[in-house]
């Protein structure tokens, strides 16, 4: 027989004072649940409506990302990185390529750096829109979700014009990017960003001062700055706790040191702050993209080094050097010098780190992806224990765990 709560608390079983005997209830939420996205199974222990224990079980989407990478060439790894975070694939593409270039000691051309920044920031807006929209939907507000999806689709259309694909972009090559901006694309993006800003302000107006939304998010899922650091949190969730750590500011890569932007910080570390940080980051991303358009100049988009980059087709067909370089890259893969590297960039959800080991052959020896969602999911129990079951939903939504990268 389960021990009753009164007996546990040592309370008198007096007739007048006696409380109803209770015991904890275990509840499985997921892996597919209408109020959560991603395939996570939560094993929850409930005392009444209060969570006493939470154990997320992941792995339903595991598809052997690292093992697959170890058995393919460096270039072939690139499409796998799209699938890690399918909402913001370009951040992952470029993060991986930056790590490979750091290992190989390649400095990419300026124009490629600007194009990477623009692509990553476009996808950062997409990711934040998805997070905010999906959270609003799961809290019962369907309208903001539709606004967010409309804005996201507009951006994805621009991404499709740039890369040829809406989701799995595989854009970028070792040493740069694989094509230049299309004709008239810059103006289209500027117009799109105006419309996205309108839609974002609509979402903002619907949610930020909405009383139901405030009561669901304010004060729930709190995380202090010390705990957030100790749990290895990064990205908007860490910044909502008031810790000023953004890889783009702390360790600038690409062209972030030439661009004027702010890093929004929260103060309470609750869900409302996380939401506000994401809304504010979308505005900053827009600023960054517009500044990139101002600053960028025509020039090469790939390094001119045939050890890493496919030679132009007319060289392949007319010179023996071009043909050999082409053959070596296609048949053996790009040879990356032996060594190890830990490289990190700021993806929409936090620090995206890559620990790469090369043995000097055309295939990686080890590819480790430090997905920002894994520590966030690890700290979820700390955030929700002691709060009500419905608080789990906004907390889980706002850490924005992406199944693709957490389960790899």
């Amino acid at each position: 027989m389960p021990e009753t709560k009164n007996a546990q608390l040592g309370q008198p079983e007096d007739v007048l004072e006696a409380k109803l005997a209770t015991r904890t209830l275990s509840l499985n939420l997921g892996p597919s649940h209408p109020a959560s996205h991603g395939t996570v199974l939560f094993h929850i222990e409930l005392d009444g409506e209060v969570i006493t224990k939470l154990d997320p079980e992941i792995g339903f989407l595991h598809r052997g990302f690292e093992k697959s990478c170890e058995n393919s060439t460096w270039t072939q790894c690139l499409p796998y990185t799209d699938r890690l975070n399918y909402v913001s694939a370009m951040c992952n593409n470029f993060g991986f390529l930056t790590a490979v270039e750091k290992l190989a000691g390649i400095e990419i051309p300026d124009r490629a750096k600007y194009i990477r920044t623009i692509g990553a920031e476009l996808h950062r807006i997409c990711d934040h829109l998805t997070c905010v929209g999906a959270m609003a939907m799961e809290l019962g507000g369907f309208t903001p979700f539709l606004y967010a999806v409309e804005a996201r689709d507009l951006l994805w259309d621009r991404v499709a014009e740039l890369t040829g694909a809406r989701l799995t972009t595989t854009y970028g090559r070792i040493g740069g990017v694989n094509r230049d901006l299309p004709e008239g694309w810059v103006q289209k993006v500027k117009d799109t960003l105006k419309r996205v800003a309108e839609l974002r302000d609509d979402i903002d107006a619907l949610l930020t001062h909405n009383r139901i939304f405030l009561e669901r998010t304010r004060g729930t899922g709190k995380m202090s700055a010390e705990d957030a650091i100790n749990y290895g949190f990064t990205g908007p969730v860490l910044r909502a706790s008031g810790v000023d750590y953004d890889v783009r500011k702390a360790h600038p890569y690409w062209v972030y040191d030439r661009i004027d932007f702010d890093v929004p910080l929260g103060s309470e570390g609750d869900n409302y702050d996380r939401y506000c940080v994401r809304i504010e980051e979308m505005k900053q991303s827009e600023r960054i993209i517009l500044q990139c358009f101002e600053q960028m100049e025509p020039g090469p988009i790939l390094v001119d080094d045939w050890r890493f980059v496919l030679p132009p087709k007319n060289e392949v067909y007319s010179t023996i050097e071009g043909l050999i370089a082409h053959f070596k890259i296609v048949m053996e893969g790009v040879k990356i010098p032996a060594g190890t590297v830990y490289s990190y960039t700021e993806s929409p959800n936090g620090e995206l780190g890559w620990y790469l080991v090369s043995d000097g052959s055309g295939r990686p020896y080890k590819v480790h992806c430090r997905a920002p969602g894994i520590p966030l999911l690890g700290g979820l129990e700390h955030m929700v224990v002691g709060s009500l079951l419905p608080d789990l939903i906004p907390t889980f939504d706002l850490i924005n765990m992406i199944g693709g990268e957490v389960e790899q």
């Binding site: 992941i58 010390e226 690890g378």
Partner: protein, 192 residues
Amino acid sequence: MSEAVVRRIAERFGEKVLRTFSERGDDGIYVAREDLVEIARFCHDDEEADLKMPVTLTCVDYLGEEPRFELVYVLYSVRKKHRIQIRVRVSEEDPVVPSLTPIYRGLDYWERYVWDMYGIRFTDRLKPLKRLWMWEGFEGHPLRKDFPLRGRKGQLPELDIQDIYRGPGPGPTSRPASRAAEPRPSQLPIVK
């Protein structure tokens, strides 16, 4: 900046720091697993080091070398903006390492990842050591270099469920071969 921290740790611990390295902007130390907890605690508590954030933990399988595995801890200081790596070599015969979760709670999932993928055990953890991605009962550790790419190891066994619509389950005594011999409805010949 991070070189200064590496020097400080190396001076403080002397012999216990086996080797320091600086490669492509990554600085770090090699330590023995017996000294790992002590050094990690120093990294966390020391004012100068201030490495409060556990960024990641991973493992590399150098098959053919001795010791075979190399654990890589990446630690970061948000205040001082430097990061160092702590690397620990672990042999195949005795793959046990003391856990750092009492110091860095964020390493919980990474230790589960290393156990799941490389089969390295962590002792004195705050929470039980479970697999992260594969299911309990899976045989082997997939990221070891001697694990086949297309292995059919550790298939999920069918549960012995008796009471649902599709009828009696296979039970623990039945063989997969005999089950395969029975035609499923979709395999039955179509009678015209």
